[in-house]
């Protein structure tokens, strides 16, 4: 595991923060970390990168405990609310951060990351003259400098336009292809849904769901079937066995008790002479899941 936490808690004067977080993030994945504002997302990220000291619990990042800085050479971090010295140029910022990473010959890598984030040609401008989006790109470039094994991104696209967001998604996918792990902290659900393999949802400081995105979005026992016009009394027969059955615009949705119910259901449809075109497990949108989980917490 790239990140493992055990009852990790960070509270501020006994309040807020995150509480007894148990999280596992596998290698080479894009991990989405979701939650409403103030849920404790940034607190957890800041604790994992060593900016906040945990109140209790333990965690290992790239196999090292939080107090150990020897793994920092391979960790990139783009904070949510960050700033660089505005008297520096973009190039100065990257040189400075390359120095902090103790990179021996950073020139080629600086050119590469500038290109990756689309800042080539803008690097000699003072940071003070950068737009917010450009600053976010520069922040990402600084985080990418060490070709990180683990990249923490805290709301990385909040200041970017749709084109910029797409570019960032592409960068994240290319990092995954190269074997890096990305911890993406975001409240943009569509973004997480598009790129993440695994996800966790935090609310009021506690993890309320985690797993692979596919598992999280699948609704247990819910089936959707595309059928032709129902023959005979198909709906009445199904209603007896599956009270949740609904038909809407040729889409039959119902909930089965277990896997063995599925062939039985198919038999009933076929026996009625109704054509069956498609059968699949029903999936939530991430937004539905998110909203339902938060509702359940209230």
């Amino acid at each position: 595991m790239v990140i493992e936490t055990l009852d990790l808690t960070k509270q501020f004067n006994g309040r807020g923060g995150c509480h007894e977080v148990n999280l596992e993030v596998g290698s080479g994945k894009i991990f989405g970390f979701l939650g409403p504002n103030g849920a404790g997302k940034s607190t957890l990220v800041k604790t994992l990168v060593g900016l906040l000291h945990p109140t209790s619990g333990t965690a290992r990042v790239l196999g090292k405990p939080l107090w150990d800085t020897s793994n920092k050479q391979k960790i990139g971090y783009l904070p949510e609310n960050f700033k660089y010295y505005d008297w520096m140029s973009g190039l100065d910022v990257l040189r400075f951060h390359a120095g902090l990473y103790k990179m021996a010959r950073p020139k080629a890598r600086i050119i590469a990351v500038l290109d990756m984030v689309g800042l080539t040609g803008q690097e000699k401008k003072r940071v003070g003259a950068y737009s917010k989006g450009m600053q976010q790109r520069l922040g990402l470039a600084a985080a990418l400098l060490p070709a990180p094994d683990l990249l923490f991104l805290d709301e990385p696209t909040s200041a970017l336009d749709p084109v910029g967001r797409r570019e960032i998604r592409e960068i994240l996918r290319s990092l995954r292809r190269e074997g890096s792990t990305v911890f993406l902290n975001s409240h943009l659900l569509s973004e997480v849904e598009m790129v993440c393999d695994d996800a966790a949802i935090i609310n009021k400081g506690r993890i309320i769901a985690q797993g692979s995105l596919a598992d999280l979005l699948s609704v247990t026992g819910a089936i959707e079937a595309k059928i032709g016009p129902p023959s005979g009394n198909l709906l009445e027969i199904l209603m007896v066995r599956y009270p949740s059955v609904k038909l809407q615009e040729g889409c039959l949705s119902l909930r089965v008790k277990d896997r063995e119910d599925i062939p039985e259901m198919v038999k009933i449809i076929m026996a009625s002479g109704t054509p069956l075109y498609e059968l699949r497990p029903a999936a939530n949108s991430l937004e539905d899941l998110f909203v339902n989980l938060l509702k359940g917490e209230k």
């Binding site: 900016l51 800085t69 920092k72 960790i75 971090y77 960050f82 120095g99 902090l100 990473y101």
Partner: protein, 285 residues
């Protein structure tokens, strides 16, 4: 740590306040030089010993004002060096790199320290150089100058350590206010101590004032170090008999620090620097 040191130095050079301080320094030196020229042009026929005593007064006044400007520079540079970077968010991206937090404190202390040392050396030797160039007849020895300068420099370093401690604990504004208050207390306490010592020399009751000065020196021993620096500067080789004469005046050192106080001053800087490292290390960013 070297990266932080370099960055701190560059940051100082990019601060507009530094330019303002340099302009004011030039104005101060021009005004001071003009005054010296007027005074030294009228010293014909004055007893050499009295002329020397007058020079010690003039040098001390110049150095006293210089120490004041240096203190302002120290406060401007050190109060925000940690707190400002935390408040602005600069520190977040910095501290996740493979460097220890004490390296950040040490790098910033050394960066500001180097700039303060350079600026202090310029002011110290400019004041003495102006006096010598415009007519002062006083035999400074190189040992006086070097030791005097090092003691002169120690004061700003103490203030820097205390201000950085404030910066590791409070906001930039609060750390600045704390540092200005401490420095002001040390200044007023130092003046009271000198007045008390003068009264005692004249056979009057000045003990309470001297004690008030000592207590203020415990809070921040910058003033007492300034007195020690000037008295060391004026302990002229072969003129030890007249050291008392050269020490008279509100900007000099009739009341001198004990060796314990000097040891305390040394420990003060180490203590506050250690406390800064401890605070900053434990602080949530």
């Amino acid at each position: 740590m070297a990266e932080i040191l370099k960055c701190t130095l560059k940051e100082m050079l990019n601060k507009k306040i530094l330019l303002l301080i340099l302009v004011l320094t030039a104005i101060f030196l021009a005004l001071y030089g003009f005054g010296l020229r007027e005074i030294y042009s009228q010293q014909e026929g004055v007893e050499p010993l009295m002329a020397m005593a007058a020079t010690t007064q003039l040098v001390s006044i110049g150095l006293y004002f210089a120490s004041f400007i240096i203190a302002l520079l120290v406060i401007v540079a050190a109060a925000g060096t940690l707190a400002g970077d935390i408040e602005s968010g600069v520190m977040q991206a910095m501290l996740v790199k493979p460097l220890k937090r004490w390296e950040v404190v040490a790098g910033k202390f050394l960066g500001i320290g180097l700039m303060v040392a350079g600026y202090s050396a310029f002011l110290f030797f400019a004041i003495i150089g102006l006096n010598l160039a415009l007519g002062a007849r006083i035999p400074f020895g190189s040992a006086n100058l070097i030791t005097g300068f090092l003691l002169f420099l120690l004061g700003p370093y103490l203030l820097m350590a205390a201000t950085m401690w404030g910066s590791s604990r409070f906001s930039t504004l609060n750390a600045s206010i704390m540092a200005v208050m401490l420095y002001g207390l040390a200044m007023v306490g130092g003046l009271l101590e000198q007045v008390g010592a003068m009264l005692e020399q004249a056979g009057q009751e000045g003990g309470a004032l001297v004690h008030a000065g000592i207590i203020s020196s415990l809070l921040l021993p910058t003033d007492i170090l300034f007195r020690k620096a000037t008295s060391t500067l004026f302990a002229l080789p072969g003129m030890e008999l007249f050291t008392g004469l050269f020490a008279v005046g509100p900007f000099q050192g009739i009341s001198q620090p004990s060796p314990w106080m000097l040891a305390y001053a040394g420990g003060y800087a180490v203590f506050f620097l250690s406390l800064t490292i401890k605070n900053f290390g434990a602080r949530d960013i």
